[in-house]
Symmetry: C2
Subunit: 390 residues, 2 copies
């Protein structure tokens, strides 16, 4: 049957991250690859409490077909998180990745242009590629996107949307400054470009002050994506979209033909936890555990590598984006690092053009403080050996 | 933002079935529309038993990210249901509707031709339309598809796949005879056309003998879709695909970029229930409840309408496909029936060309015996009044 595959499949490659995940699962390797939350922190008792209450309820329709946009109680709670939103502007998705898919399905014709950050989230790049989109990339710096380059792209390429991860970005951990956000908003209005705002890490802030989202700055042109995968548990598979209600209607139509609806069981659990303030409370626990891990990795990198690498200390999220300056191609460092028992994701996979890069993405949330210490040492050994081999 | 919608959205219409569902939810109408299982029959106690056991287990990774293709234990159980299959030929989906979406994503380029039964499943037609497929329809009769017409289409239109619901079809309740199946297999081989076999109702057999699936007759050219929505509970959102392993690999790649993975919680529940034989046992209960409902509707139709309508008694599934001979356009009967307090789905929505039709689809699984009696009477009143008004 393979001779019948669509073009999008014959040109797609298996996700490199997935390959790394398989590799690290098989071997006793300290993994700074992946972007997994710490499974030991899942609030299992609270989840079990609410799930059992639901299982014992006499709601006969609990496991019946329901609507495509999700449980009202949960949409209500999510709407409250925005400056001004009503539940008709919210729909629930099978993780925020499905939000990306439904936006593509609803907005993209073949060859339509979109703009992404350079670098950007790997699985989004893969998805946009599957829709045969024309992908243009705008340079991302520590305080936001390159505004001159963005304006040139908006003007010349007339993109349908700009895919932006403005807070604790994946892979860089960078956040847009308020000034940069306002500039992006100005350009989006002027050129009438949709802002597709992905904010999976927003709640995981270790330093600094909360920032204003594009969803609040420019609601009429923003489709915002959120998720409980990082603040609660990935297996809930609950993400959401916030957009003008007429856009939500079209996205719901796409959702119906894609998979009819999500399971609403864990949506009910999630709604109860939000109503009780249990998720907000749990996020404090996550921050109390993740902040020391970020600090440990920052300190270990500085201690081992001294001035031989460069990175910006992220104020939150899950990743540090390291410039391994002495190594033009971090894929070579990856191979050497695996030999030494540590994994990370080479930077090139995050660039739309997959160019060779000296960068690498390091995750710190899913390793213990000891593993962080040990893993960074092993990575430094790999780095030194690679240089002496050149 | 609506000016930026993709073509597939601007030409799509909101599902008529969804409109009917909304209508029947709001009013006190007896609904033979929809295709819902009887919620009173969900095996809530067994579900709760296994779900609680899982919630109390000490598996730290229970709510963590996992693989895209699903829980191994469940894939093993599903594989056993085929004559010869291994778990690598199985992947789990968010209901079988998602299976359809992933097949389209993996196989269809714009304008690619596919063949559907005439009439066919509404939400599949909507989905194929979203992929801008060229849709050709082959007449369906009580014992299978029109083989001459199918061969002409395979020869002339060179379709990527033939979408077939060979057992207790939606909307007709018709099943392919064994002879018809063998003819379809012969054509699929000769013209190298994929059989996309959708079998959501297969287990709900009230009369006759089990039949051989295309997945078993022609595994190398069949992608089979199955679901637990009709045999267990729709909110589990667990469907599956069975195809050659190299096709499953490509479908998994599509799944990863679409929504990364499904929730595995209820996959574990489902696996435990299958291992214990609880689902097979539950299906016996369903049949014991649904058979009398089918009989009640068949008898009520014969009693009220006499020779003024025609239909084939389905051997299983959820639907009866009625030819309201005296009414050229069943949409008019629908309007009159709503006035009388009963709903069904007018046939025209199930035809790829949406032509005016005298047919209607009646569901009997989600009404009580009394409602079936009363609803058919009301429908007959509407039918008589409509004729006297003409």
């Amino acid at each position: 049957m393979q001779t019948k595959f669509a073009r999008r499949i014959t040109t797609a490659s298996r996700s490199f991250t997935r390959t790394i995940l398989d590799l690290t699962a098989q071997n006793k390797i300290i993994s700074f690859a992946g972007g997994l939350p710490d499974a030991a922190l899942f609030p299992k008792e609270r989840i079990a409490f609410h799930a059992k209450a639901l299982l014992e309820s006499d709601d006969a329709r609990l496991f019946q077909y329901s609507n495509a946009s999700g449980v009202d109680a949960l949409k209500n709670e999510i709407a409250k998180q925005y400056a001004s939103a009503n539940p008709k502007e919210i729909m629930l998705t099978n993780g925020s990745q499905q939000g990306l898919d439904l936006v593509c399905k609803t907005f993209l014709d073949e060859k339509d242009c979109i703009v992404v950050e350079d670098p950007s989230y790997l699985a989004a790049l893969g998805l946009f590629h599957m829709y045969n989109a024309t992908i243009k990339a705008v340079p991302l710096h520590a305080n936001g996107v390159d505004i001159t380059a963005l304006e040139k792209l908006f003007h010349e390429a007339k993109p349908k949307f700009f895919y932006t991860i403005p807070i604790f970005q994946n892979p860089t951990g960078y956040s847009y400054s308020l000034e940069n956000r306002h500039e992006v908003v100005r350009l989006a209005k002027q050129y009438h470009v949709i802002l597709l705002e992905d904010s999976p890490y927003e709640a995981l802030r270790y330093d600094g002050k909360p920032s204003i989202s594009f969803a609040d700055l420019l609601p009429e042109l923003t489709i915002a994506l959120g998720t409980f995968s990082k603040t609660l548990a990935p297996d809930f598979r609950i993400g959401w979209m916030k957009a003008p209600s007429e856009v939500i209607s079209a996205l719901t139509l796409s959702k119906e033909s894609t998979d009819l609806q999500n399971s609403k069981f864990f949506q009910h659990v999630c709604a109860r936890m939000m109503q009780n303030g249990e998720i907000a409370e749990h996020v404090k626990t996550l921050i109390a555990h993740y902040r020391p891990k970020r600090n440990a990795m920052v300190n270990a990198l500085k201690h081992s590598f001294k001035e031989s690498i460069e990175f910006v200390i992220p104020e939150g999220g899950m990743f540090i984006w390291v410039d391994f300056k002495a190594c033009d191609d971090s894929m070579k460092l990856f191979d050497k690092a695996i030999e030494k028992g540590v994994a990370f994701v080479p930077g090139s996979v995050f660039f739309a053009d997959k160019r060779i890069s000296s960068y690498g993405r390091l995750n710190y949330t899913n390793s213990s403080l000891e593993q962080i210490e040990e893993g960074v040492k092993a990575l430094h050994t790999a780095y030194v050996e690679l240089q002496s081999a050149l």
